[in-house]
Amino acid sequence: MAAKKLNIKDKYRLLTRDLDWEFSYEDPKQAFPYEEFEGIKITDWSKWEDPFRLTMDSYWKYQAEKEKKLYAIFDAFSQNNGHLNVTDSRYVNAVKLFLTGVSPLEYQAYQGFAHVGRQFSGVGARVACQMQSLDELRHVQTQIHAMSHYNKFFDGFQEFSHMHDRVWYLSVPRSFFCDARSAGPFEFMIAIGFSFEYVLTNLLFVPFMSGAAHNGDMATVTFGFSAQSDEARHMTLGLEVIKFLLEQHEDNVPIVQKWIDKWFWRGTRLLTIVAMMMDYMLPNKVMSWKEAWEVYFEEAGGALFKDLARYGIRMPKYAETIEKEKEHISHQAWWTFYTHGHAAGFHTWIPSDEELDWLSAQYPDTFDKYYRPMWELAKEQEAKGERFYTSGLPQLCQTCQIPMLFTEMDNPNQNSMRDYLYQGERYHFCSDGCCDIFKEEPEKYVQSWLPVHQIFQGNCGGPGVGEVLSDYYRMNVGVDNMDIKGSPDEVRWNKWKGVA
């Protein structure tokens, strides 16, 4: 008689139960030294369940299939000069920002999950973290492969990894992941597995990638959706992690809530850059940042927190501020990059009149009142040949490392600044959220590597900003950056398209 084929529940049970072993002559606490110091109490690891019940054989089978599809499309894209099909040369700058700001995070996620996967004594959690770690490595590789095609035709792609570790605005995503990876394993899971994967990555990989498709970028939408097919599994893991922790012991609830408050605020700050990419950097618009935020944060996140209410978990702290910010942050961020366009690794521009009208329609309560007049002024300056670049270096928030570009949400004419005295030093913050995070763990955040402070301390070359940009950041100043108008990227694009 032929052996009966195992169903997926049995296969998963065999993988995650029978392949583990008991420590009979070594102390388990020495084998898993980080499992207790955060105060999280686990009474029974066997309650861990992966609802997809994915086993390694299926994992390799489906991942291989995804890769084959993906690389066939990359080949077709480059063989058919796919870069000529994007909307215009401005669009490619969103891809540059993705490669320098986001792809290296995939690598950090790979390292982070490999680390925590080693630190959990429960085998179900270890298997899930191992798969996610492999996924994240796949993501960074596929993204670099996809974007290497653009590197042949456009400026600004050549030093993404070097820049990620140094450039002032790239320290925002970089420090976000460094913060998570230097936390304990359970905090890492709530930070990245739950807060980041479950709610926030959707905003990057779903509406933005749909936007890439709408702008003719077949390579980006394909790696984006291929990565996101793994993310759907990561999201499910994130939700299982939090339910598992909350069900294991009631003492875990306040610890988890504190991490949720911290990481949702950190995450929304990080997403400022995605807000700007969606509203300003996609020539063909799919939806506004505000609308994406309502669908993926307010609606999807709201449903999630209603589901978690039964454990005593409430909405993240500052949810009211976050709700107001959707009307403002994309405009405040793009204005900052526009005025610092000589120090960015990509091109900036004034939105076209048609785009300004679109923004007015999407943001009826705020755009005409606060932001359109700034762009009208920029247009006047540009017409006079006085395109504005600021000569100063921005003050950075000690926690999120974003320049102090945000305003008070109830008074958008007032910059938002907080400060706090710790051991005789005064530290500066962009918001109550970031200030409170500092107060919880000051000994961690006093060590922040703040790019502007580092420049002033002489740790980034110099003496002038020009040398920092060209020698320390390795930007080709005036080629990789400044305004798109008259840039080598635009000149080449017009030549390819036969436009004078």
């Binding site: 997926i8 609802p51 997809f52 759907a232 449903a303």
Partner: protein
């Protein structure tokens, strides 16, 4: 009541999966966006292997869903015969 949702890549395989979802969940909302299809429904959504197989005219493993999946929201429960998304409020 909250909505569960699932988004699939817009391609020939997903077309049959979406048809199957519509048959198994007659009041689900199907939204077409560039390169993707988003389906949402109050509280619960089910994808049944038998219905997908009927639409595709071939055998279909529920885990093949991973290939065309973009994102989802809700608690997942999957076995050999079906894939369920649900909020337990």
């Amino acid at each position: 009541m909250s909505k569960v949702y699932i988004a699939l890549q817009d391609n020939d395989e997903s077309r049959y999966i979406v048809e199957a979802i519509e048959e198994s969940n007659p009041d689900a909302t199907v939204i077409h966006q560039p390169a993707m299809i988003r389906i949402e429904r109050e509280n619960r959504l089910v994808i049944e292997r038998a219905v997908v197989e009927e639409k595709m005219g071939r055998e279909w493993d529920v885990q093949e869903l991973h290939i065309n999946l973009i994102t989802l929201g809700g608690n997942v429960d999957e076995d050999d015969d079906q894939f369920v998304l649900e909020w337990k409020q």
